[in-house]
Amino acid sequence: MTMDAARQTPHAPGAGLVDPTKQAMLLSALYLAQEQAGYLTPAAIERVAQRLGLSPGQVYSVASFYSLFRIEPVGRYVIQVCKGLSCYLCGGAEKVADYISAKLGIRPGETTPDGRITLELVECLASCGTAPAMRINDQLYENLTLDAIDLALERLLEGGEHG
């Protein structure tokens, strides 16, 4: 009677046509794609999907799940301020973010009008021992003080290369 009872005959994971090894490359591929434009453009997502034999929707759902993948354009420099528990207890987090906010005139999640700097709050930068911490692009800043923040921002605003 039953023609195809999916639950009677379970199929092994990856028994379909999607190549499991290809699928496993998705995160790495997205990192590569993100490096090119600073964020994942729709065209980049479609290209990744095409190369890995996935649908753009599947790639997009992975990209939107991980906070380190960006699907919106960001500034050249992305300042990530940790709002994790350790940083919070060490007097960081809000204070650091507020300080940078006031200095750059943008709120967390925004980009400066010249498109250079984006400020965002993130969960734990895995630097609890050296809290408070922030990250500018790939460079981690630990044991932050207001002076240290000033120094880092000055270097950015002067236009010096970073990270």
Partner: protein, 870 residues
């Protein structure tokens, strides 16, 4: 591992097959475990946590999801403990955190699993006072489906359906945490042909049907089980009616036919049933003004009897004929051919795509055979566009069981992306290609079987060679243990079609699979219409008209025998072979050339739902009922006879096709001198007493028996007598799942299987010329689509022609430009499209586009058409 496993659920012992999920085992034991994400037709997931139950083991009990755990011997499950109750309450509380309580305006309200389970297992009072999250409430994921992201409870059923059944993973879960929502990739709406199925399986009202939205509340609907009238698959569906309007169509489960899915045409295209433009009264052409005016049924039918009768008397019965639609019910088709064969006395009955197409009388052996096959050969047939449910079944067997596809089609159809082989073929060359394949298969067999004799002996000297260019294909064919060979009408038309079908049969026979050849027609009831003998050379039950024994048998049943000589085909009748024509349910005159031909007729009767182009030319227009308004049976492509009962009141004065034909036949019989065909008018004076009149009739020879059909069921009863293999097809016996007639009952030999390919192969077109490919498109401009809801009608594409991008570049043509296409049959102006699925050297114009461009150029005639693009 034992095949059967016994476990205990709430002290009930239940034995189920190994591998069964606990949730299904509980169902078998009669114990209800609430679920949201779990669905019998989808892979287990465990997303909603609603089915948590207690598994009692030696080290105490643990909670786990019943929808992902498979049964084990001696397993003990408890579903009614305090802990399970508490977990269910808490879980429903969590699910309802952000679920809006807009049940009063939700289409699902009343048939909503979330509502029902909250009532049955919920806490009653919410612990949450915080405001709910706000998301998009009216978010289109396609032209036909709206998503309410607030109502969504993230069960993934829609995502999984599209992944597992459609292999079109277009929906995904985006963002994460509390912001997670279902969405599509920007600019890529859901376009699966059975996308509407996700509305049915959504456990909340998150996915809504844009056509039926807000037109019903579930509790007030009258629900009628019916079958779809769009394509020959015959999907089972349910008609939901309220105050004499068809509110919506949903799928109905039939594991033998459509599982529990239906395509979007079946679901969304139903406005033609109660469209305001439906014909409500008969129309007759006013003698003075020459225009159509409303008339009574009596007047209209009298006019038909009088005019057709006059033509028959003046010129003989062969000057009138009937063309029906392959959509009508078995009852209508049977009475239609009986009217012409028994009362008029001619075999001039046919339907468009009827006698012109070399159909295989037994159709597909069974739809369930798709799931059992390891190779499916598709010749000139594109299931994705012509019969989407078949495509769903085919994709399933490819994805789950590793079946291969061999596709022979002039266009790289959607299914060509799956493992197997795609052989591009120029239109008209199918027979030659199949011949080569058959020869190659035979040769490879010969080589294997008789190596000692050498290769030469195995070669067929007539064939072009062993086909060394297709070694992979030959290997594919040779390796197949249970192949299916499916072909469609596009490659079976005319003389070339006969050769193609013969070649395909040769191929199947060479592989020892001659019984796996299947023809899949275009009309919803094409199989049934052929079974009923609505063909000029075939009587009901596939007996040739020359078969005297069958004629005698039918003569006893009808009172008069059908004539022995074959009637005129559809094309000949249109082309001037008749003076009077009765068209039932087909809009032949949509093509201007046919309209011109129909204008030359002395008398034209049209029986249809709308005032179509054909009806506008008619002398009498009879308003018919749609499939939803009348009882009828329909036979699908696997010979399954299914009931389509009346689900809504007939619009206006319209009548069922069979009822109109019965009324017409009664008038025909009552009219003087038409009871018999002896030529002697029995001048039965009214003052003669009854017994004398009877005597007189007896003297003048055999007379047609009266047509006494009070119901469609009584027609079906007579069909059972006329068509031997329908003998068991009684209305009650058919039930809600239908009955298949056995192909073994059909004792009709293949009449020209040995036909060799005498057609010259199509040569490659000259530069600047292209060969016309005209295959079906799902969203076309057929009559039902023209009278569909606005949301559906906007899916009808503007007429276009598609070329291979390489051809476009060579010819320096720009995509989107307007081009004039000319063939020996006509000329059309179309918008140019680039499409890599189109083979170089061909142009693809889908069939039944607005204005019928492909048909104007001569497509669908079974001969290669060369087209010049300017």
């Amino acid at each position: 591992m034992p095949d059967q496993v016994t476990l205990t659920i709430d002290d009930v012992k239940v034995t189920v097959p190994a591998g069964t999920l606990v949730v299904d085992a509980a169902k078998a034991a009669g114990i209800d475990i609430p679920v949201f994400c779990s669905h019998p037709k989808l892979d287990p997931l465990g997303a909603c946590r609603m089915c948590l139950v207690e598994f009692v083991g030696s080290r105490g009990s643990r909670l786990d999801t019943a929808c992902t755990v498979r049964v084990a011997e001696g397993m003990a499950v408890r579903t009614n403990t305090e802990q399970v109750k508490a977990v269910r309450e808490a879980n429903l509380g969590f699910i309802l955190i952000n679920h809006p309580l807009d049940c009063p305006i939700c289409d699902k309200g009343g048939e909503c699993p979330l509502q029902d389970q909250t009532m049955a297992y919920g806490p009653g009072v919410s612990q949450f006072v915080e405001p709910k999250r706000h998301k998009n409430k009216r978010y289109p994921i396609s032209d036909l489906i709206l998503l309410d992201q607030e109502r969504c409870i993230l069960c993934w059923r829609c995502i999984r359906y599209l992944e597992e059944w459609e292999d079109k993973p277009q929906l995904g879960l985006f963002e994460r945490g509390g912001e997670t929502m279902i969405d599509t990739f920007p600019g890529q709406p859901v376009d699966a042909k059975t996308s509407g199925s996700i509305i049915d399986i959504c456990p909340v009202g998150a996915l809504t049907n844009r056509v039926a939205r807000f037109r019903y509340r579930p509790w007030e609907l009258k629900k009628t089980p019916s079958v779809c009238n769009h394509c020959p698959v015959g999907c089972n569906l349910r008609l939901d009616e309220r105050v004499h309007a068809l509110r919506r169509i949903v799928a109905r489960e039939n594991m033998a036919v459509n599982d529990e899915w239906i395509c979007d045409k079946g679901r969304f295209v139903h406005q033609f049933v109660d469209h305001p433009e439906r014909l409500k009264k008969p129309l007759v052409r006013d003698a003075q003004r020459g225009t159509l005016r409303e008339a009574t049924w009596d007047e209209a039918l009298d006019r038909v009897v009088e005019k057709l009768g006059a033509l028959v008397e003046a010129n003989g019965p062969n000057t009138v004929g009937g063309i029906a639609s392959p959509r009508v019910s078995n009852e209508a088709a049977y009475l239609f051919q009986k009217f012409f064969r028994a009362l008029v006395g001619t075999n001039n009955v046919d339907f468009a795509g009827g006698s012109a197409v070399r159909a295989w009388p037994t159709g597909l052996s069974a739809i369930t055979d798709i799931a059992r096959s390891d190779l499916i050969v598709l010749v000139g047939f594109d299931p994705s566009e012509a019969a989407p449910l078949l495509a769903v079944h085919i994709k399933r067997v490819v994805l789950r069981k590793g079946a291969k596809l061999l596709i022979i089609h002039p266009r790289r159809i959607e299914l060509a992306k799956y493992p197997g082989a795609y052989l591009p073929v120029l239109p008209g060359n199918e027979a030659a290609l199949l011949g080569e394949l058959a020869a190659a298969v035979q040769a490879s067999k010969g080589v294997r079987g008789q190596e000692a004799r050498g290769k030469q002996a195995a070669r067929n000297p007539q064939s072009p060679g062993p086909g060394p260019q297709y070694p992979d294909v030959v290997a594919l064919l040779a390796a197949a243990k249970s192949p299916l060979f499916i072909y469609g009408p596009d490659v079976a038309r005319g003389e070339r079609g006969r050769a193609t079908v013969a070649a395909l049969l040769n191929l199947a026979t060479a592989l020892g699979q001659g019984d796996k050849l299947a023809y899949i027609g275009a009309g919803a009831n094409e199989q049934g219409v052929r079974d009923m003998g609505l063909l000029p050379d075939t009587l009901p039950g596939y007996a040739p008209v020359s078969d005297a024994a069958v004629r005698e048998r039918l003569g006893k049943l009808w009172g008069l025998q059908p004539p022995a000589e074959a009637g005129q085909t559809c094309a000949r009748m249109i082309g001037g072979g008749v003076k009077g024509l009765f068209v039932m349910g087909d809009n032949l005159a949509a093509l201007p050339a046919v309209a011109e031909a129909l204008r030359k007729l002395d008398f034209l009767v049209v029986q249809d739902l709308f005032l179509t182009e054909t009806a506008q030319l008619a002398d009498v227009v009879l308003p018919a009922c749609s499939f939803a308004e009348a009882d009828g049976t329909y036979t699908n492509l696997e010979r399954r006879v299914q009931r389509g009962p009346q689900g809504i009141r007939a619009v206006g004065e319209s009548k069922a096709d069979w009822a109109i034909l019965t009324a017409l036949a009664e008038k025909w019989l009552a009219a003087e001198g038409r009871g018999d065909r002896s030529g002697v008018a029995p001048a039965a004076a009214p003052e003669l007493p009854d017994w004398k009149r009877k005597k007189r009739k007896a003297k003048t020879g055999p007379a047609a028996k009266p047509w006494n059909y009070p119901t469609a069921q009584s027609v079906l009863e007579e069909i059972g007598k006329a068509v031997p293999f329908y003998a068991t097809m009684r209305w009650e016996a058919l039930g809600e799942g239908g009955l298949q007639w056995s192909a073994r009952d059909l004792r009709v030999g293949v009449r020209d299987s040995g036909l060799s390919n005498t057609q010259s192969p199509t040569s490659n077109p000259r530069p600047g010329e292209f060969l016309l490919v005209s295959s079906p498109l799902f969203w076309d401009a057929s009559l039902f689509m023209q009278y569909a809801a606005d949301q559906v009608r906007q899916l009808i594409p503007a007429p276009f022609v598609a070329l291979n991008p390489a051809d476009l570049a060579t010819a320096k043509l720009a995509e989107g430009s307007q081009m004039t296409l000319t063939s020996p049959h006509g000329s059309v102006i179309l918008t140019l499209k680039a499409d890599a699925s189109v083979q170089p050297g061909t142009v693809w114009i889908p069939a039944t586009l607005p204005g019928l461009p492909a048909e104007t150029l001569g497509g669908g005639r079974g001969e290669p058409i060369s087209v010049v693009v300017r």
